[in-house]
C-alpha cells in the first residue's frame, strides 16, 4: 500500500516552494523505489512552517516543516516516510500547539482533506449540514442561522439570518446567492485559504443559502489575483455537479441549485457589494446608492443574498450541530468563531480560528509570538487598509465587533497586520489616502477628491507648512469623508488616518524641522 504524503497546494505554501518540494519528493521516492502517493492538500495556516509536509503513519499524520528542496535527501535518510526523527519533525499535526488551541468550526477540514475529493469531504462529516437543511422548511433554516448569531464576516457584521429572511420574503421568479470572495484587504487570506483548501464547504453553504431563500443560482465573485482558488473552486464545482450535489436535483431532493465562479479584474472597490453586483453585470465597478437593498434589487435587479465567503462557510456547521452549538462560542453580541489572520511583521503568521473575545495583545504577542524582526511592536492595523492602527496601549481590546467600534476601530475581515518600531505612521496615513485615491470608483466626491486632498495635506505636514493648520484640516477632511461617502472605501479611509494621527502624534512632526534641529 502506498504511503500518503501531503504537500499543500495553498498559494502561501507554493509561494514558499511547495511545488518544488512536491516534485523533489516524487522524484526521490521513485528513485528509492518507495511507493508514495502525494496529496496536494490545503494549508493548516501555519505559514512560518510552510511548506509543511505531512506523512500518514500508524500513529496518525505527522508533520515536517518548513521543508525546502535541500532537505529532501536528509528526510529520506531519516526515514520520514515512517515518521522518523529529523530536525524539521514537528510531531503529530493535530498536536502542534498553534493548531491544538484553536476552535476550528469553519476551517475544520482545511488542511486535512484533499480539496477536490468529495469522498474525503463526506468522510469528514461534510454535507451533513446540507442533509439536515433538506429536511427543514426555508423558514426553519433561516431561523437556525438567525439563532446562531452569525454576522457578516466580510466586515459589516450584519446579521446573516435577517438578510436571508429579506430575500426569502421577496417575491421573484429568480433569486441569486452571490458569494463575495473579492478579498482585497491587506492582511487577510481566510477566503483564499478555504477556497483552496476546502471548497466544498463553500458550495455546501451556498446551497443551504439557496434552499433558505428560494434562490437557485449562485455566483462566487473572486479576484484575478487568486488563480489557484479559482482553479480549485471550478474543479470542486465540477465534481459536485457530477455527484448530484449541484444541479436540478440536489442530493435527490428535487430542489435545484447550481453555481459558477466569476473573476474580477483588479478593482479593490468591487469588494463593496453594490460595486460587485455592477461588475458582475458587466458594468464599471461603481457603487450604487442604497436603497434599494441588494436583498430586494440585487444582481440583474433581482433579490440577491450577498454574503462573504466565511459567512457562507460557517453555515454548514450551524445546520449540522445546531444554532446553540455555534452561539456558545464568542462574547457579547459577537457569537461563534472568527478566523483571525495574523500577518505582516510577525513571527508566527497564519490563520487562527477561535471564539470571539481574545484580546489584541494575546493575538499579537502570544499567538503571533511578536515581530519577525525581533524588534518591539509599534502598531497593529486591524481590518485591512480601512482599519484603524492600534498602539500597544490598546492591546487589552477584546476581539469583538462592538469593543473595537468603541475604540474607533473595526475588525473588518479579521486581518491583523503587525508593524515593528521602524514604521513611520505619517507615511502609513499618507498611504491610506493614496490607496483610496487609486481605488476610488469616482462616484462620490468625498472619496474621489477627498483622498487626493488628503495626500496633499499629509505632504504639507511632512514639509512643515503650517503644521497645526494642516492637522486640523486633515481631521476636518476625515470627518467629511466619513459621513459624506457613499461606501466604506471613502467612509472608512479616515480610520487608519485618524488613528495614526491620534495614537502616534510624534510621527506627524514636520520632517524638515527635525533635520534642522539635529
Amino acid at each position: 500500500m502506498s504511503i500518503k504524503v501531503y504537500v499543500p497546494l495553498d498559494s502561501g505554501s507554493v509561494a514558499l516552494g511547495a511545488d518544488d518540494v512536491a516534485s523533489a519528493i516524487a522524484a526521490k521516492a521513485s528513485k528509492a523505489g518507495s511507493d508514495v502517493k502525494i496529496v496536494r492538500n490545503g494549508s493548516f495556516g501555519m505559514y512560518w512552517l510552510e511548506p509543511m509536509v505531512e506523512v500518514e503513519t500508524p500513529r496518525g499524520r505527522v508533520a515536517y516543516g518548513p521543508v525546502s528542496t535541500d532537505d529532501i535527501d536528509a528526510l529520506f535518510e531519516a526515514d520520514f516516510l515512517t515518521g522518523g526523527p529529523h530536525k524539521l519533525y514537528l510531531g503529530r499535526t493535530q498536536e502542534i500547539p498553534f493548531l491544538k488551541s484553536q476552535s476550528r468550526l469553519t476551517f475544520q477540514r482545511c488542511g486535512i482533506v484533499d480539496p477536490v475529493s468529495l469522498d474525503d469531504y463526506r468522510a469528514n462529516d461534510g454535507l451533513t449540514g446540507l442533509e439536515s437543511a433538506l429536511k427543514m422548511t426555508d423558514a426553519e433554516i433561516v431561523k437556525a442561522v438567525t439563532d446562531s448569531g452569525l454576522r457578516g464576516r466580510g466586515g459589516a457584521g450584519f446579521p446573516t439570518g435577517i438578510k436571508w429572511n429579506t430575500v426569502r420574503e421577496a417575491p421573484a421568479d429568480q433569486k441569486y446567492i452571490v458569494c463575495n470572495a473579492d478579498e482585497g484587504d491587506s492582511g487577510t487570506f481566510a477566503d483564499r485559504m478555504i477556497m483552496e483548501g476546502e471548497p466544498f464547504v463553500l458550495i455546501e453553504g451556498m446551497i443551504i443559502a439557496g434552499l433558505a431563500t428560494g434562490a437557485t443560482k449562485g455566483y462566487v465573485y473572486t479576484r484575478s489575483e487568486y488563480p489557484t482558488a479559482i482553479d480549485v473552486m471550478n474543479e470542486a464545482i465540477k465534481v459536485a455537479r457530477a455527484a448530484g450535489v449541484l444541479g436540478d436535483n440536489v442530493l435527490g431532493s428535487g430542489k435545484a441549485f447550481d453555481m459558477e465562479v466569476r473573476m474580477g479584474a483588479g478593482a479593490y472597490v468591487c469588494g463593496e457589494e453594490t460595486s460587485l453586483l455592477n461588475s458582475m453585470e458587466g458594468k464599471r465597478g461603481v457603487v450604487r446608492a442604497k436603497p434599494p437593498l441588494p436583498a430586494l434589487e440585487g444582481f440583474l435587479g433581482r433579490p440577491t443574498v450577498v454574503n462573504n465567503v466565511i459567512s457562507l462557510c460557517s453555515v454548514p456547521v450551524i445546520l449540522e450541530k445546531g444554532a446553540e452549538y455555534y452561539r456558545d462560542y464568542g462574547m457579547g453580541r459577537s457569537r461563534g468563531t472568527i478566523p483571525i489572520q495574523i500577518a505582516g511583521n510577525v513571527k508566527h503568521g497564519g490563520l487562527y480560528e477561535v471564539g470571539f473575545g481574545l484580546t489584541l495583545g494575546e493575538i499579537v504577542e502570544q499567538i503571533g509570538g511578536g515581530t519577525a524582526t525581533g524588534r518591539p511592536v509599534k502598531a497593529v492595523q486591524v481590518g485591512g487598509p480601512l482599519g484603524a492602527y492600534f498602539p500597544k496601549e490598546l492591546f487589552d481590546t477584546p476581539f469583538d465587533y462592538e469593543e473595537f467600534a468603541k475604540r474607533d476601530g473595526l475588525i473588518g475581515h479579521a486581518g491583523v497586520v503587525v508593524f515593528d518600531d521602524t514604521v513611520d505612521m505619517m507615511k502609513q496615513a499618507r498611504f491610506a489616502m493614496e490607496f483610496c485615491a487609486i481605488e476610488s470608483c469616482g462616484k462620490c466626491t468625498p472619496c474621489r477628491i477627498g483622498s487626493i486632498r488628503g495626500t496633499e495635506v499629509v505632504d504639507k505636514l511632512e514639509r512643515g507648512e503650517q503644521p497645526e493648520l494642516q492637522t486640523e484640516l486633515l481631521r476636518d477632511l476625515c470627518e467629511t469623508m466619513k459621513f459624506g461617502s457613499l461606501c466604506a472605501l471613502g467612509g472608512f479611509t479616515p480610520y487608519p488616518v485618524l488613528s495614526a494621527l491620534t495614537h502616534f502624534p510624534d510621527d506627524f512632526k514636520p520632517r524638515a524641522l527635525d533635520i534642522a534641529a539635529e
Binding site: S11, G12, V14, A15, L16, G45, Y47, E50, E183, G184, D185, S186, G187, T188, F189, D191, R192, E225, Y226, R262, M263, G264, A265, G266, A267, Y268, S279, M280, E281, G282, K283, R284, G285, V286, F299, L300, Q341, I342, A343, G344, N345, V346, G349, G350, L351, A372, Q381, P385, G415, V417, V418, F419, D420, V423, Q428, F431, F435, I438, E439, C441
Partner: protein, 154 residues
C-alpha cells in the same frame, strides 16, 4: 507577421459568441480577449459593443475601469510586487524602490527592451509570508530583489 484587423475581429467575435449566453458576459469576454491577445486591442471594443448591443464608449468605460485590462501588450515577463500594508511591514517599499532603480522603470511601465513590465498589486493574499510578488503568474513569498531579478533573468 502581424494579423489584419479583420482577422482580429473574427477572433473577438468568436469569443463573444461563445460567452454571450452568460448572465453579465462583458467581464468574462474582456478576460478572454486579453488571454487571447495579451491585451484588449482597440478594434475589439467595437466588435464587442456590436455583439452585446452596447456603445463602444460603454465597453471602453468598462475596460478602462479595471486595472487588469491592458491597452497594449506587456513585456515578456510581468513582475507584480505587492505594495499593501502587510508587505510594507516587511520592507515592500524598499523592495519596490530597488527593483525600479535596477530596471529603470516606474510602476506600470515596461523596460525599453520590452522584456519586463513592472506592476504594483494590492494584496496577493500572501500576507503571512511577506513581502510577496507574482512573477509571470507564479507567486513567491518572503522574496528579495535579487530573487525577483534572477527569476526574470535580469
Amino acid at each position: 507577421m502581424s494579423e489584419t484587423t479583420e482577422d482580429q475581429n473574427v477572433r473577438v467575435a468568436a469569443i463573444c459568441d461563445q460567452l454571450i449566453t452568460l448572465e453579465g458576459p462583458l467581464l468574462p469576454i474582456l478576460h478572454e480577449v486579453q488571454e487571447e491577445f495579451g491585451y484588449i486591442p482597440d478594434g475589439a471594443l467595437q466588435t464587442i459593443a456590436k455583439k452585446l448591443n452596447l456603445s463602444r464608449a460603454e465597453v471602453h468605460g468598462v475596460a478602462s475601469f479595471y486595472h487588469d485590462f491592458r491597452e497594449e501588450k506587456a513585456g515578456k515577463h510581468v513582475i507584480k510586487i505587492c505594495r499593501a500594508e502587510a508587505c510594507q511591514a516587511m520592507g515592500a517599499d524598499a523592495l519596490g524602490d530597488q527593483i525600479r532603480r535596477h530596471l529603470k522603470v516606474d510602476w506600470s511601465q515596461t523596460t525599453a527592451d520590452r522584456k519586463i513590465t513592472l506592476e504594483p498589486v494590492f494584496c496577493l493574499g500572501l500576507c503571512a509570508c511577506a513581502p510577496a510578488a507574482m512573477i509571470d503568474g507564479k507567486v513567491v513569498g518572503r522574496v528579495s530583489a535579487d530573487r525577483i531579478l534572477q527569476k526574470v533573468g535580469s
